[in-house]
Amino acid sequence: MKILVSVKRVIDYNVKVRVKPDNTAVDLTNVKMSMNPFCEIAVEEAVRLKEKGLASEVVVVSVGAKSCQETLRTALALGADRAIQVDAEDGLDSLSVAKLLAKVAQNEAADLIILGKQSIDSDNNQTGQMVAALLDYPQATFASEVVIESGEAQVTREIDGGLQTLLVTLPAVVTTDLRLNEPRFASLPNIMKAKRKPLDVTTPAELGVDVGSNVTVLSVAAPAERSGGVKVASVAELVDKLKNEAKVVS
C-alpha cells in the first residue's frame, strides 16, 4: 500500500498573527513558519502505518514556493520516504491545490491519501473533500482512529455528539483530526538522513493543471479587540442588552 500525505507550510501556531497595515493579507515577514499541525498528524499516521508493515511507501507532497521544501524535509525527517514539491506560488485556493494533489495521487497510484482536516492559516477545511470528489474516491474526514484491513480502511470520525465509524474501500481519502495521534519529534539521525532522501520538484504545468483562482480576497482584518465587560443591574437589563446591543437573542 502506498500512502500519499500532503503537508502545508503555515505560520507557526505559537506566533501572534498580525495583519498587514493595508489589510491585504497576514504579515508573514520574518515570522516563524512550521508544518501545519494537522498535517504533522497526517505524516505521523502514515509513518505509523508503515512501521506496522501496512504501508510500503510514504510519499509527502506540498504545493508552494521553494521554502516549502523545508517542510517537506521535516516530513522526511519524521519518516516519510520521499517528497514532491509542486512549485507554485503560496496561497493557491483550495480547489487548485486539490486538483494538483489529485493529479499527483493519480500519478503515484496512491492507495491512501491522508491530509490534515484543515490548515491553521486559511481554516477552509475543504481540500481533502475536494480531492476525494475529483478522484471519485470515498472519503472519511476528521479521523480519530484509522484501521487498515484487507483493502479497506475503518475510520472513526469525530462528529458533533460523538463518534461515527465508517468503512471505506481503498483507494480513499482520510483527513485527520487533532486526537488521531501525537506526532513524534524527529530524531537527529533522521534529520540527517532526510537530507539524502529524494525530493522531486514538479510544476502545475507539468501536471497539466490550470491553477487559475476562483477566489478573490477582498480584505483581511484582525478580530476586534476584546473590550472591558460591564456589570448589569438586573436580568431584564441583561436580556435587553443581548437583544439590542449584542443582537444574539431575538
Binding site: 516563524k32 523545508e70 524535509r73 525527517a77 519529534f185 530524531s187 537527529l188 534529520i191 532526510a194
Partner: protein, 601 residues
C-alpha cells in the same frame, strides 16, 4: 508559570551573522553536513525538545529533588522519561565520531543545542553534560578497546558518565588526593577511596554509569605528578561488551543543596572496585587538562543560561505588571496603571540581563568555534585557537557566571515581592545559578589561572594574541561615523588592559602576593573588555543590516541600543576594577588574622 522559548533568532544572529559559522563550517574538516539548512533543522528540533519536554519539568526537579534510599537514587518525575526521549532522538551522539556511532557534527553545533537544553532545565542537562565530559576523555585518551567497550554505549546514551575528581579533603588542590589504585594480575586495578560532589554519580536514568576516576598508583610520586586516570564502570562489562555483575562502587549519600536539586550530587565509595587505566600512568592530570577547557566552557554556559532565562521571564512579567505611573505622565491612561516597563530602573535591570545574555552568547559560541578549530584545524590554526582558548576560558567561566548570577538576581528583583515566592520560578533561577561560580574552579581560582598562569607566565604573549585581534578590528571600523564611539572606547580599554597587566607584572616581581590581590578585579576587567569586543562586533553587523535596509529594523535597532547601554552603563564598571586592582596588596594583607573579629574579648 515560568516559560522558556528557544532564542533561535538570536542564536542565528550570533552564529551566522556575527561569527560567520557557514564559512567556518565550509572550511572545517568533517563539517560538510553542517549546512545552514541542516543546522536550522537540527536547532528547530532541539528547540522543541527543550521547550516542550525539559522546560515543563524544571520546577518539578527543584521541588522534588533527587531521593536517596539504600544506595539507590531516584530522579524527579519526568527526568527519566525525558532522558529516554533524548536518547531515542539520538542527541547524545551529535558531536561524537561516526565510527563510535556518533553523527560527527562539529562541537560548536552541539553547543547550540546544549545552550537550549541548559537554559530550559540546567539540572537535567547536567546528566548528559557529565557524559559528554567522560566521552571526551575516553575519545582522547582511551585505547581502541576502551572506546569500543565504553564510548559506543555513551555515544548512544544507553550509559551515562561522570568525572570523579574531588575528595573530602581536596577540591581545588588535586595534588592531595588519596584514592588508591592497586594493580591486579589481570591487568586491571583495584580502586579504593571516597569521592565527593560527584554530579550524576548515581541515578535511575540509564542502566550503567561509567566513572572516570582520578587515583594514585602505589609507587606514584607525591603531588599532582602522581595522579592517574581510570575507567570504573558501575556494572562490570564482560568480554562481549554486555553488562555483567555489579562493581564495588556505590553511592553513600547525596548532598542537600542550595540549588540544582534535580541533579544528584553523590558521595561515591570505591571499595576495591575494578578499574582500567586510561592514558599514561601518572599523567592523569594532564589528560584531565585537555578536556578541562571544554568543561569550563560548559560551566560558562550556565551563566548565559540563567541570564537568558531571567531575561525572558522578567521581560514578560514587566510588560504585564501594572504598577504606578511613568514619572513624566501616564503612558497607558486607559489602564489602572502603567506597566513597570516604563520605569527607568526596571529597564536598567532588563537591559543588564539582555547585555549579559546576548553578549555572553557571542562569547560562548566564539569559544566553541575555537574548540572546533583546536580539534580539526591545521597545525597553525590549532596553535592560535589553543592560545586564544587558554586566555578566554577562565574569563568566560568566571565572568559569565558572575554576570549570569547578577542577571538572575535582577530577574528576581524585577518581580518585586513575587520574585521571592517560589511558584514564579525566579528564586529557583537564582539558587540554581549560584553553584556556577563555585564548581569547575571558583571565580578566585579562574582569576589566578588567568592572571598568573595564562597572562604573566607567558609574559603577556597570550593576552597580546587577543588584544591584537581587538585592535585590528577597531582600526578597521573606526572610519564608520556611527560605529566610531564604540571603536574609540574599545580601543582605549584594550590598550589599558595591556598597560594594567604590565603594571601588575612589575609589582608582582617585587611581591608575588600582588597577583592574588589583583586577580579577581583583573578578571572582571578583562571580562568587560572581552564582552565590549563582542558587543562592538554585533553593533557592526546590526549597523550594516540597517544601512542596507532590512525588514527586521526592530531587531537590529535593539542590538545597537543594547550595545550603547553596555558601553555607557556597564563598561564604566571597569574604572572601579582598575582602581581597586592597582591599589596594591597591602590593604588586603595588612590586617592581623586575629584582628578580623573581636567576639569574645
Amino acid at each position: 508559570m515560568p516559560e522558556y522559548k528557544a532564542p533561535l533568532r538570536d542564536i542565528k544572529f550570533v552564529t551566522e551573522e556575527v561569527l560567520d559559522f557557514p564559512t567556518h563550517y565550509a572550511n572545517l574538516a568533517g563539517a560538510e553536513e553542517a549546512t545552514p539548512d541542516m543546522v536550522s533543522a537540527i536547532l528547530e528540533e532541539g528547540a522543541k525538545f527543550a521547550e516542550r519536554v525539559l522546560s515543563p519539568i524544571n520546577r518539578v526537579g527543584d521541588q522534588q529533588g533527587c531521593q536517596f534510599k539504600d544506595g539507590v537514587v531516584t530522579t524527579p518525575d519526568g527526568f527519566k522519561e525525558a532522558y529516554q526521549q533524548y536518547v531515542e532522538g539520538g542527541w547524545p551522539s551529535l558531536s561524537h565520531p561516526e565510527e563510535m556511532g556518533g553523527q560527527g557534527l562539529p562541537d560548536s553545533l552541539g553547543m547550540m543545542v546544549t545552550e537550549m537544553i541548559a537554559t530550559s532545565n540546567w539540572s537535567w542537562g547536567m546528566y548528559p553534560g557529565l557524559s559528554h565530559g567522560a566521552m571526551n576523555t575516553i575519545e582522547l585518551h582511551g585505547t581502541e578497546e576502551q572506546k569500543h567497550t565504553y564510548l559506543t554505549k555513551l555515544v548512544s546514551g544507553e550509559w551515562t558518565g561522570t568525572m570523579c575528581l574531588t575528595e573530602p579533603h581536596c577540591g581545588t588542590d588535586l595534588g592531595m588526593l588519596k584514592t588508591k589504585a592497586e594493580p591486579q594480575d589481570d591487568g586491571s586495578y583495584a580502586i579504593t577511596g571516597t569521592k565527593i560532589f560527584i554530579s550524576a554519580g548515581e541515578h535511575d536514568m540509564a542502566e550503567n554509569i561509567v566513572h572516570i576516576v582520578l587515583a594514585r598508583l602505589p609507587d606514584a610520586p607525591a603531588g599532582t605528578k602522581g595522579i592517574s586516570l581510570f575507567i570504573v564502570p558501575k556494572h562490570n562489562v564482560d568480554t562481549s561488551g554486555e553488562m555483567a555483575d555489579r562493581n564495588q562502587v556505590s553511592c553513600g549519600s547525596i548532598e542537600h543543596k542550595m540549588g540544582i536539586h534535580g541533579n544528584a550530587t553523590c558521595v561515591m565509595n570505591f571499595d576495591g572496585a575494578k578499574g582500567f587505566l586510561i592514558g599514561e600512568a601518572n599523567r592523569g592530570l594532564n589528560c584531565m587538562f585537555t578536556f578541562m577547557n571544554t568543561a569550563r566552557i560548559g560551566t560558562a554556559l550556565q551563566g548565559l543560561a540563567h541570564a537568558e532565562w531571567a531575561l525572558q521571564n522578567s521581560v514578560a512579567y514587566a510588560k504585564d505588571r501594572l504598577q504606578m505611573r511613568a514619572l513624566s505622565g501616564a503612558k497607558s491612561p486607559e489602564k489602572p496603571a502603567d506597566s513597570i516597563m516604563v520605569h527607568p530602573d526596571v529597564r536598567r535591570m532588563l537591559l543588564t540581563q539582555k547585555a549579559f545574555a546576548e553578549g555572553g552568547r557571542a562569547l560562548i559560541h566564539y569559544c566553541s568555534m575555537l574548540v572546533d578549530t583546536t580539534k580539526k584545524g591545521t597545525d597553525a590554526e590549532k596553535a592560535e585557537a589553543d592560545e586564544l582558548m587558554s586566555l578566554l576560558t577562565p574569563i568566560a567561566k568566571a565572568f559569565l557566571t558572575e554576570t549570569g548570577f547578577e542577571s538572575a538576581n535582577h530577574g528576581l528583583q524585577v518581580f518585586g515581592g513575587h520574585g521571592f515566592i517560589a511558584e514564579w520560578g525566579m528564586e529557583q533561577n537564582v539558587r540554581d545559578c549560584r553553584i556556577s561560580m563555585l564548581y569547575e574552579g571558583t571565580t578566585g581560582i579562574q582569576a589566578l589561572d588567568l592572571l598568573g598562569r595564562k597572562v604573566l607566565m607567558t609574559q603577556g604573549a597570550t593576552l597580546r594574541r587577543f588584544t591584537k585581534i581587538v585592535h585590528k578590528f577597531c582600526k578597521e571600523h573606526k572610519g564608520n561615523k556611527r560605529l566610531k564611539p564604540y571603536m574609540t572606547a574599545l580601543d582605549k580599554l584594550n590598550s589599558e588592559w595591556g598597560d594594567i597587566t604590565l603594571k601588575i607584572g612589575m609589582k608582582a616581581m617585587r611581591n608575588k602576593e600582588e597577583v592574588g590581590a589583583a586577580s579577581v578585579d583583573y578578571l572582571m576587567f578583562s571580562g568587560y573588555v572581552v564582552l565590549a569586543y563582542f558587543w562592538a562586533r554585533m553593533a557592526v553587523v546590526a549597523q550594516t543590516k540597517l544601512d542596507e535596509g532590512t525588514e527586521e529594523a526592530g531587531f537590529y535597532t535593539a542590538k545597537l541600543q543594547t550595545a550603547t547601554f553596555y558601553y555607557e552603563r556597564l563598561l564604566p564598571r571597569t574604572r572601579a576594577h582598575a582602581e581597586a586592582m592597582l591599589s596594591g596588596a597591602e590593604n588586603l594583607l595588612a590586617m592581623e588574622e586575629d584582628n578580623f573579629l573581636f567576639l569574645n574579648t
